[in-house]
Amino acid sequence: MRSPFRTQIAFRTTALILLVTILVGIPLLFLLAARVRRQESSRQQATLAQLVDTVERTAQIACFLGDARLSEELGAGLLKNEIVGQVVIQAGDRVLISRSREGWVEGAAARVSRELHSPFDPSLVVGRLSLAPDEAEIERQTARQGRSIMLLLAFQALVLAGVTVGVVLLLVTRPISRLSHRLHRLQAETGENLPFIRGHEGDEIGRLVEDVNALIGRLVTFIHAERFLRDEVEHERAELQSAKEELEQSLAEVKTLQGLLPICAWCKKIRDDEGLWTQIEHYVSSNTDARFTHGLCPECAKAQIEEFRKKWQEPSS
């Protein structure tokens, strides 16, 4: 049984689309994952900056007062946010709080730090608030979004493949298949034309039908021409055969003598191939279809009659 990949256009098209989708999709997925990671990192930075904005006033007060308890509460509140990996609040050199999420490891992602000024004197720096992002959360978000994108791509590929199968079946395979069935039943030699597939009169399949019909037309013309020529050839051949037979018959009837014949200058006998001297009549009769019937020409008759008379008269004298 032959593989459907070789026998079905729809199957081949679908397989190729899926292959291309996978080949394009995998690098695309990596690119998207990198992009999502960057975006997530930027989003985290922005969110951390917003968090700093939100708590800045309270952190200023905590640093202004050196209030460790307020800093603790602030830090606990900040760490409830999943993207915060570590909170550090310093009032001058004194660390009011340095609290990390469980399992947090310092990564390459930049911290969001801000100098804290006195709430009552903007020129006076009273401390620093520093938030470190939780990179594991970035990875989790990236993986989550990557999975979503992958599922979407897979879904898109499947839908695309399904639609392609439908379209190819409807617009290509089925009309071609019908065309093929009609072609198999078609008696082209009789000049029968291939009917158009409904709905495909103006497209490539319609053009193919037109081309096939044009070919059939030319084929019929050639068949007729070939039949005519064949009849002509038969007729010529018959004539030739007849002429040949006549010629052969003529040749069979005609025997000719060719070459030099040694003939006696006196008695007119001819020497044959065996070296025997034979009468000319005998020789000619043996080597041709000619036959002799004897007579006397007037001169010889006159001479013979004279000679005969002389002989007749001699005894009497």
Binding site: T58, I61, F64, L65, D67, R69, L70, P119, F120, D121
Partner: protein, 141 residues
């Protein structure tokens, strides 16, 4: 009856004048504190510092509610309005690390606390300052 409105206007003007007198920060004269900077005053009234420079525990006294002197004091000293100051203290309500200045209902109560407590520090109209008190910082008009 004509002079009465004028007199009333004069008295009112005088009242307003006295009402808008210079605010000064004062301490008990026996506290040993001679002078405070603006920053020190801020630190004392906003809870950052709890002791005076001489080692006494500071007792900052605020005038209650929306007393005009209170509004003027914080506006002149910090450039802030009372709602901002209240919000500041509200943030610290649950931390317990710093507490707002003690509230006195009247100027008389402020004076009484100043007279009786060595570490007390308050803002007052300059005219109310007597010999038992010492001006350590001039807030301004």
């Amino acid at each position: 009856m004509r002079p009465l409105p004028f007199l009333r206007c004069f008295l009112l003007a005088g009242g307003v004048w006295s009402f808008a007198g210079d605010l000064v920060v004062v301490v008990n004269a026996s506290s040993g504190v001679e002078r405070l900077t603006r920053e020190e005053v801020i630190n004392l009234f906003m809870g950052r510092t709890r002791k005076l420079a001489v080692g006494l525990t500071a007792l900052p006294i605020d005038q209650g509610g929306t007393a005009p002197d209170r509004t003027r004091f914080y506006r002149s000293l910090l450039g802030k309005e009372l709602p901002e100051i209240n919000a500041y203290w509200a943030r610290l309500l649950f931390s317990g690390q710093a507490s707002p200045p003690r509230q006195a209902e009247t100027e008389a109560e402020v004076l009484e606390i100043l007279h009786n407590t060595k570490g007390a520090i308050a803002y007052l109209d300059r005219k109310l300052v007597d010999r038992r008190l010492r001006i350590v910082f001039e807030v301004g008009p």
